[in-house]
């Protein structure tokens, strides 16, 4: 028989205001096995834990139940408390009477009754708990970063500086991400390349960092500390060890009609290309779909002009298998497609562009060499209209419900830069709200209005109509003056909502990391564990977790690195002891369980057993505790009921069911 102590937490008034904690204590005392029950203001506090410790000693407790907040919050706290006072940590169960009770019910009697039942279920369970010993697993001291934008680069640099090896996998031919496409950056207006390029160079030159560009993660197996990852290094058709980066091939390549991804399709690139001049590595790739040699067998110009003999048409994709202790996702974002926004005439007029396209237009290395001009006729615009929140904060299914967070600031930036360089151009911004929280952000926006005379109008644009004379008619409602506006513009810029890179879904599935309804990766706790995914060993960096600007991205990237470093600094990790365990007298070696185990943790071996005095050899299931993750799939599939899960055994779960239905 267990000797159980029950500890009911008030959580200040979070629990005690809706649940009669004294009543819960009183009812708990009547449950089988309970030898002690008490309540306290804050069980998780030092004094609360000392109370638990004292009771363990005084009453010789063999198990405890804490009626408190979610076990996802404080299970580890109370387990280590138990351990400190000499009790096996797996003899602790939590009754969640806060998130699952006091916070969602108003009626005191109802909530108290429910809390009593939840306590009862936990007591019934702990009566059947057995002490468990956590095992150990090794830690591979190398990290993988998926995505080589500013987030991935910063995380990799920070981890590498701490002395650990890091690999970056980037799907495009160069690292740099969106930031490499930006012209100038708020709130300081320094040039994006000037602050990004040195970081890219640092990463490429770091002895601890290996960069796989034009590569993708194909398969992930294993678990925290010991992941095995297959990386597909796509065939570049150029031998990186020979290429000198001279660029002759790109110049001479006769296939020059492929829309440049880097310039958002506003200019063309050759079939053999590096996305931009400062690309890292400065080694081109052949786009085999555009290459004449690959399409027709003729051409071969690049091979002829390459002095270094680096062109290799026969190159194949390569699969690299590597082990990692931790994985950081930094896959960033893209802007949403505007197909469903016909009212802005994005697909009808070349002079309606997205803000990211404007970044390329304003950039000296962009399609217009940095001249502000209309893409339809090359004329200098006189009247520019910006429309904010295109697809952001959108109530209907066409767009996104969330705020993309960066658009208010970059629109102010664009407006200011245009007014600065072209003082005779009128700039009008239509907005729903201007949101500028952040250091020096509001000051930045006010400068746009006060110093640069940007015309901000609170209102939504209903329609942008291309006119026969080539201009654009913008129809909008001015919400402050309550009037309709019709104005002509030469150019319209859409602050388009951002969304996670579409590949993140596949990445999340491979990592069993969760994503929310908008495809942003979910953090382990929205406030307290913002850079960890709920999956152990997987961390989040940058916009893949939620919209962010560069300062926030870099801060989060550093935070993710710290978490990785903390993990890699350990030599061993303790493993979850709640693993499957077959009863050798019941197992008949049928082989069902191994079939459902996602981790290949079950094998069969022939062993001598003693079944009620009869000695015989039998084929029996054996679970490898280092591989078993404790899902329980095998326990349900086992026809003889031999397989059980420690910590969540059949008897324990049935005891909970019984307690609830009593």
């Amino acid at each position: 028989m267990q000797r159980i102590g029950v500890f009911v937490c008030h959580c200040g008034s979070n629990i005690a205001a809706t649940v009669d904690v004294k009543k819960v204590v009183e009812m708990a005392r009547m449950e089988p096995g309970v030898v002690f029950a008490d309540d306290y203001q804050y069980m998780c506090s030092e004094a609360g834990q000392a109370k638990i410790g004292a009771a363990i000693k005084e009453h010789n407790l063999t198990g405890i139940v804490v009626c408190s907040c979610s076990p996802r919050m404080h299970e580890t706290t109370f387990r280590s408390c138990a351990k400190r006072y000499g009790l096996n940590p797996y003899m602790v169960e939590i009754a969640n009477i806060r998130e699952h009770c006091s916070w969602i019910h108003k009626d005191m009697q109802e909530a108290t009754e429910k809390a009593v039942i939840l306590a009862r279920a936990a007591i019934a369970k702990v009566n059947l708990n057995a002490p468990l010993q956590a095992g150990e697993s090794r830690v591979t001291k190398r990290a993988l970063v998926i995505g080589g934008g500013i987030a991935g680069i910063q995380t990799a640099l920070d981890i590498a500086d701490a002395g650990y090896e890091v690999d970056i996998v980037e799907k495009t031919p160069s690292i740099g991400g969106r930031m490499s496409q930006l012209d100038k950056t708020f709130p300081t207006l320094d040039c994006s390349a000037c602050i990004l390029t040195p970081k890219m160079v640092d990463a490429a030159g770091h002895e601890k960092i290996k960069i796989y560009t034009y590569s993708e993660v194909e398969k992930v197996s294993g678990f925290v500390g010991d992941f095995t990852v297959d990386i597909r290094k796509k065939a570049r058709s150029v031998d990186a060890t020979k290429c000198t980066g001279c660029g002759v091939c790109q110049e001479k390549c006769p296939s020059k009609k492929t829309p440049s991804e880097f310039n958002r399709g506003l200019g063309n690139r050759s079939a053999i290309y590096t996305p931009f001049a400062q690309a890292i590595p400065n080694v081109p790739v052949i786009d085999r779909e555009a290459c004449i040699k690959f399409k027709t067998g003729k051409c071969g110009v690049c091979e002829k002009v390459c002095q270094a003999g680096a062109i290799d048409y026969a190159q194949q994709d390569e699969i690299i298998t590597e082990k990692y202790g931790a994985i950081v996702v930094a896959t960033g974002f893209d802007t949403i497609k505007l197909d469903k926004y016909d009212e802005y005439a994005y697909n009808q007029s070349k002079d309606v562009i997205t803000s990211l396209e404007l970044e390329r237009v304003m950039n000296a290395a962009g399609p217009t060499k940095g001249h502000l001009e209309r893409l339809s006729d090359g004329k200098a615009p006189k009247e520019i209209v910006f429309i904010q929140c295109v697809g952001s904060r959108c109530a209907d299914a066409r767009g996104k419900g969330y705020c993309s967070k960066i658009c208010c600031m970059y629109t102010a930036k664009h407006a200011m830069l245009i007014r600065d360089k072209y003082p005779d151009v009128n700039v009008t911004v239509f907005y729903i709200d201007v949101r500028t929280p952040g250091k020096n952000f509001d000051e930045f926006y006010r400068r746009a209005v006060e110093e640069y005379g940007v015309n901000y109008i609170k209102g939504q644009v209903g329609k942008v109509a291309p006119q026969p004379d080539g201009s654009l008619l913008v129809q909008a409602a001015d919400l402050l003056d309550n009037r309709q506006i019709k104005m002509k513009a030469d150019m319209v810029v859409l602050a388009t909502a951002i969304e996670p890179d579409p590949s993140v879904r596949g990445i999340a599935t491979m990592l069993t990391a969760s994503i929310d309804t908008n495809n942003f990766l979910t953090e382990a706790h929205p406030k307290l564990r913002p850079v960890e995914s709920p999956t152990a060993g997987v961390f989040l960096s940058g916009v893949c977790q939620g919209p962010k600007d560069i300062p926030e991205t870099v801060a989060q990237a550093g935070a993710a690195a710290v978490k990785v470093i903390g993990l890699l600094a350990k030599d061993k990790l303790t493993t979850n002891p709640c693993t499957a365990k077959p009863d050798e007298l019941l197992c008949n070696g049928c082989g069902n369980c191994a079939k459902v185990c996602p981790y290949g943790a079950i094998t069969y071996e022939v062993r001598q057993i003693n079944d009620h005095g009869i000695r015989e050899e039998r084929r029996l299931a054996t679970v490898n505790n280092a591989l078993c993750q404790g899902c329980g799939a095998c326990t349900v599939t086992c026809p003889s009921g031999a397989m059980d899960l420690q910590g969540f055994s059949n008897r324990q779960l049935i005891a909970e069911v019984d307690a609830i239905c009593r």
Partner: protein
């Protein structure tokens, strides 16, 4: 339906630790109410729920059982919820056959971010059970006294 207003059903909700239990926690921290009739049991994965547990619940007088897991493709253990889906399809049709109507059993996918979905699901499920009324307790007629 005043009778059913009074009727407080016994409802067991199995929630997987990684998604649905966290979804229930989020419903809690967002103060999204649902009836106190729902009592949650935490399991590592939805695939840990043995059909026996559900039969047991009905045998002990439950009026409804709901099983929540991660969305297909999102199971923390990759494939657990696919087993759940197949097992429960079988179990629920058998239960329906022996008199526990389909409305009393449900499988629902709720992610850690879906506090709202958790609460609306529970509200909806409880309303359904209340409209169905008290369940006939599963048992063996031969053992009746």
């Amino acid at each position: 339906m005043s009778v059913n207003e009074e009727f407080r059903p016994k409802i067991v909700a199995f929630c997987c630790n990684w998604c649905s239990y966290a979804g229930a926690d989020l419903a809690g921290s967002s103060r999204l109410a649902y009836p106190a009739d729902v009592k949650i049991i935490r399991v590592p994965c939805s695939c840990r729920v043995n059909p026996m547990f559900i039969l047991r619940a009905f045998e002990k007088g439950a009026d409804g059982v709901i099983l929540c897991g991660c969305h297909p493709g999102d199971c923390h253990y990759s494939t657990g919820n696919y087993y759940t889906r197949r097992r429960m399809t079988m179990l629920f049709s058998m239960l329906d056959f022996i008199g526990v109507e389909n409305g009393r059993t449900r499988v629902e996918w709720v992610s850690a971010a879906e506090g709202v979905k958790f609460s609306t699901t529970m509200n909806d499920f409880v309303a359904k059970i209340r409209s169905l009324g008290k369940n006939v307790r599963l048992g063996d007629l031969r053992c009746k006294d």
